[in-house]
């Protein structure tokens, strides 16, 4: 809901090159929790597409299952969308891309959807370099199923059910870099100054563009110090096994200059340290990115921004040498060899 800024409803909305207003890029009203980071990301996608003057129907939106995966309903209402099954967005997006290389594909996933059930598909869509934007709305938790740890949850954080989480979190950006991703970026849901241009760059990239967006979950914060708001609820609702109280929360936003770092306070009072770019980063060097990310991690900081890009990236259609015409636009004429050819085949089978 958070992106439904009243100003957007103004009659004299600014128009983009195509004559569309931001309204033309909005979707249905969000049913996520008030203040959910995912809604901020939807707003950023809307802004990015509006500013780029992308005809809305040139976008196809795809997702898996989860709060994050619900969001394609809440942006780009004039684009076709596909809310598939849990963890399998990459396959569906790959197939869609095969059918029509001319559309823009925006895949939205969550950390559960990507790093757990979807890990295999994530790895292989990176490897194929499918021309698409892949946004992981990473809240370190399973939102929709009410608060289990995800594979990106930090060590030592306590999940709602009580056990500390003792496993190394999976760093999706590093994995993507390691696997040869041609575009890797990281951002924070509330930093639209950074996120909007990153999404635009990802759309412009010819190949698989991965953006890991840290996106706080209002309701199930699993960050290390995660105690504040939750304990209050727990105390007051001892009789119920289900967590059914969501305190009112505002969207968390931040603004900070490139090269600097900032600390953002989450809904539960814990903090996350963001570092916006680093002058030493060579965005054309995979190793530079990997090394710097590790360094910041050691300082308990998350490096944000565009981490790596390969401008010479060749998407899967290019490597496969597929026809320029979208495959789905081909007709009998191009596709069916006809009866004469068949008779020759028959002949060879005698």
């Amino acid at each position: 809901m958070s992106y439904a800024i009243p100003g957007f409803r103004h009659p004299n909305l600014p128009k983009n090159d195509l004559g569309f207003t931001t309204k033309d890029y909005e979707g249905a009203v969000s049913t996520l929790c008030a203040g959910c980071g995912h809604d901020s990301i939807s707003a950023a996608i809307i802004e990015a597409c509006f500013e780029l003057s992308i005809p809305p129907h040139h976008v196809a939106k795809l997702s898996g299952i989860g709060c994050s995966s619900k969001t394609p309903t809440y942006f780009l209402g004039n684009s076709h969308g596909f809310n598939s099954v849990h963890g399998r967005m990459p396959a569906v997006a790959t197939g869609a891309n095969m059918a029509n290389r001319d559309l823009i594909y925006i895949g939205v996933s969550g950390d559960g959807d990507t790093a757990s059930i979807g890990m295999g598909q994530f790895v292989h869509s990176v490897r194929r370099n499918v021309d698409m934007v892949y946004i992981c709305e990473n809240n370190g938790v399973y939102g929709l199923t009410k608060g289990q740890d995800s594979a990106t949850t930090d060590i030592g954080s306590k999940s709602k059910k009580g056990e500390p989480n003792a496993m190394e979190p999976i760093d999706l950006c590093s994995v993507a870099l390691q696997l040869g991703a041609t575009f890797v970026a990281q951002s924070f849901s509330g930093d639209k100054h950074q996120l909007v241009p990153l999404i635009q760059a990802a759309i412009a990239h010819r190949g698989f563009a991965f953006i890991n967006v840290i996106s706080p979950c209002v309701t199930f914060n699993n960050t290390p110090g995660s105690t504040k708001s939750y304990d209050f609820i727990r105390q007051h609702m001892a009789s119920s096994n289900t967590v059914d109280f969501v305190p009112h929360a505002e969207e968390i936003t931040t603004e900070y200059a490139p090269g600097t770092s900032t600390s953002v306070t989450m809904h539960d009072g814990s903090a996350i340290n963001l570092q916006k770019m680093d002058p030493n980063l060579d965005i054309h060097s995979r190793r530079s990115a990997l090394a710097l990310m590790q360094e910041y991690k050691a300082q308990d900081k998350v490096l944000t921004g565009l981490l790596f890009v390969d401008e010479d990236s060749q998407d899967i259609h290019t490597t496969m040498n597929t026809t320029k015409t979208p495959l789905r636009a081909l007709s009998e004429k191009e596709l069916c060899p006809g009866s004469a050819a068949l008779e020759k085949i028959n002949q060879s089978l005698r």
Binding site: D24, A28, P55, P56, H57, H58, A60, P72, T73, G77, N78, S79, H80, G81, F82, N83, S84, V85, R88, P90, A91, V92, A93, T94, G95, A96, N97, M98, A99, N100, D102, L103, G120, Q121, V123, H124, R128, I316, H317, M320, N321, T322, T323, L327, R328, L330, S331, E332, E334, L335, C336, P337, G338, S339, A341, L342, I345, N346, L349, R350
Partner: protein, 614 residues
Amino acid sequence: MKREIITNLFVVKFANVNGTGSASANRLFSKAVFRMGVPVSPKNIFPSNIQGLPTWYEVRINENGFLGRRGGIDVVVGMNPQSMERDIGELERGGYFVYDSSKPLDKKMLRDDIDYIGIPFTEICRTEYTDPRQQQLFRNVMYIGSLAALLNIEFDVLTGLITDQFKGKEKLIAPNVHALELGFKYAQEHFDCPIAFRVERRDNVGNKILIDGNSACGLGAVYGGATVSAWYPITPSTSVIDAFARYCRRFRVDPETGEKNFAIVQAEDELAAIGMVIGAAWNGARAFTATSGPGVSLMTEFLGLAYFAEVPTVLIDVQRAGPSTGMPTRTQQSDVLTCAYASHGDTRHICLYPSNPKECFEFTATALDLADRLQTPVIILSDLDLGMNDNMCDPLEWDDTRTYDRGKVFTAEDLDAMEKRFGRYLDVDGDGIPYRTYPGTHPTKGSFFTRGTSKDEYAVYTEAGEKYVANMDRLLRKWDTAKKLVPAPVIRKTKQPCTIGVVYFGTSEAPTLEALYHLEDLHGISLDSLGIKALPFADEIADFIEAHDYVFVVEQNRDAQMRSLLISEFDICPDQLVSLLHYDGSPITARQIRREIRDWILRTTTTPRRRGRK
């Protein structure tokens, strides 16, 4: 022993070690018989490994055109010492055992009711060739040469085949022909050729062709306009995609730019493969995948999505012996129930059951039409026997005026002309099939959200019970519509009215029809028959069953799955349906069917028939 001469009615089995290159030599043999105008049906029996284990090639030669497995072997070419005892044991009385006499035969291998023909293939090779790979390869060609002499196969036909085969690599023709000659001569010089089993030229194959079902499926996908294929390797379905790729390279590559009018993606697993097919089909391309049982199990969740979200999906299931990894290189018809009801919740899928390569070709093209028309998964249930063996069948046909049925799709113009709100899941004309739009059709109209969750007619998420029920009931209407669109059953009625019928599907067709022929011919028992070609079952199938007191259901699985499906889809009284099952991984034989039906009839005409639980 005075012997009867048997012409064009016998079974030859080659016993080899896999990895020794015998497959192409053996294929030469079948093809030669075929070119002599005599129907053949060869069957590969191979292990689930790459090298060093026994493999067999069983060729039935039958001038009457019966193509199912007959059962029993008349001539064995025993090139594998490992399996020799068993191979000899399988021979019918009066049969011949042709073997490599470079090593002497063990005494315990001797039977006195068969003939032994020893030819020192290895020895000859060792003197003829120095390269050990050549020694091995030409040994295979050589035994074909010997068989030509022994069985009276026209040598010219063999050399013709060799010439055709090595078109473009002519220098390989002479050595191959030479190897054939070596074998031929040795046999002719040392044995009384031909032996009692003989091939004689006939004109009994007409314009028929010899092709494996998987190639036919792959070709059907090309003709049917599939542009996207995603798959994961698994025996025995891999060659469907190999064939699709082969024919695409031939017909779908721009000769100038090399650009391809197709995309084949080797997925990381079956879940991804079907996901890609669903994504491509949702986006307006014709797409398909091929797999076998384990892959179908993995595709279960996605099949449910495609059913409920109504996305055209074509899946070719080349069945093998289950459960689990089962016998990966053996045949069965045991995915019938799994395919019909794959996925949790109330799901049901269109299934097609081809019986021969021509139907593989046609049903694959048809499946692409049906999937688009019905916006739902269409599963083609082939099997290893049909898919991986050369099957003789009528030539493939294509009507050049045929256009692809893309089903109910609104274009930008349709949307512009539309006054009412576009409803993705509205049943505007009562057939249960709604209209769809392809992504990217129109800047402001016709977009919708596809989901596996419950939705209203406008594709909007809903948890309202009545909307859910309306949608589920519409899907049943669509199922009814499908009944009239899927391939019709094939009904064969005897001249006299009869009270017993036989129902079969898929590769049970040839042996069933042969059994029926012999039941009439040998025992004077005439039965009506019906070949099921598709689910949902056409009403004629119920009519057929109702019109008979008893109906045999022939199938190659343990649990009588098709029978269950018939009962539950039609509410047929189970007592009427008599199971005739075979499930050891080999193709069912006409002999078994004939015997079981005959025995049942004898039994039930002497003892009173009791209707009751099985």
